[in-house]
Symmetry: C2
Subunit: 150 residues, 2 copies
Amino acid sequence: MSSQQLDPRELAIWGAFLDLWRVLASGMERQLADAGSSGADYQVLVTLEEAGHPLRPRDIGNQLAWDRSRVSHQLRRMEQRGLVTRTSVEVDARGTLVALTAQGRQTLRAAAPGHVAWVRQNFLRHLDDDDAEVLTRVAQQIVDSLTRAE
Amino acid sequence: MSSQQLDPRELAIWGAFLDLWRVLASGMERQLADAGSSGADYQVLVTLEEAGHPLRPRDIGNQLAWDRSRVSHQLRRMEQRGLVTRTSVEVDARGTLVALTAQGRQTLRAAAPGHVAWVRQNFLRHLDDDDAEVLTRVAQQIVDSLTRAE
DNA sequence: CTCGTGTGACTGACCTGTCAACAAGGAGGA
DNA sequence: TCCTCCTTGTTGACAGGTCAGTCACACGAG
């Protein structure tokens, strides 16, 4: 029942999931690279575009569940590449406002359709309604459980 | 049918999966760090232990689906930390043999039970037989599809 | 034999992510 | 006011990963 090793049935499930994880991660990253972006850049760009207005690093971090340090490093790199700007004008003197540049918006527009098509083609297409229900329910349950446990 | 955005139903599925991915990755990495290891170290240690004898970097790479460069960097770091040794004695003069050290074996023994328990507690526990069947089937199908497409 | 091609492994440059430390600004109570 | 504590954001050091380039060797065709 609780040995030191996963039994074959457990291993088949967990191994299949790990393989899925690996090929989806590398495939998605490759697709975004072909479109001139990257996973991290894309997530930040989408977050800013959907908000419709400049955001503080804190809000980006909350949205993506990234820690402050990661957000800061990522924004510095994206600023150097001309995708976003940071301005310190703010009510809270600690704060920074991060805004999309024209180039950032254009990078997002160039990458988004291919990304959406990739997700449909390589993930959603393989799920019928019942599969999708199972996957969504299980995923939410695991996320809830792990999030509450923190 | 094929708009530029994911519709709400698609987004619920894909978003749930991305969240699952994120919490499992960070949780698993944290658990292994608490046990004195890391995801990359652990995979290499398990591969070597299960083989039961020293392996060549090529074989480790094939087993884990890592490229040669990644394997080489990882082994260099693990050798510096005393987890493995590399010896150049070999029939094929290009080859290297990678072996576990006592410390490597001990690190694995210290990490394995907690890792297995973590996978059961945070992943397998949430899947009944039907869920597991759906997940395994879908994962294999997606992996096959993406692997063949390379 | 030797030439060409493929394989095994390493390295350096560079990008990404985590952690710990830090600086500096708010916010509230004694 | 002053003290304390929390929040925001940055940075440096480091582990991890990808990519391109390099070197040595293996091996079959001719």
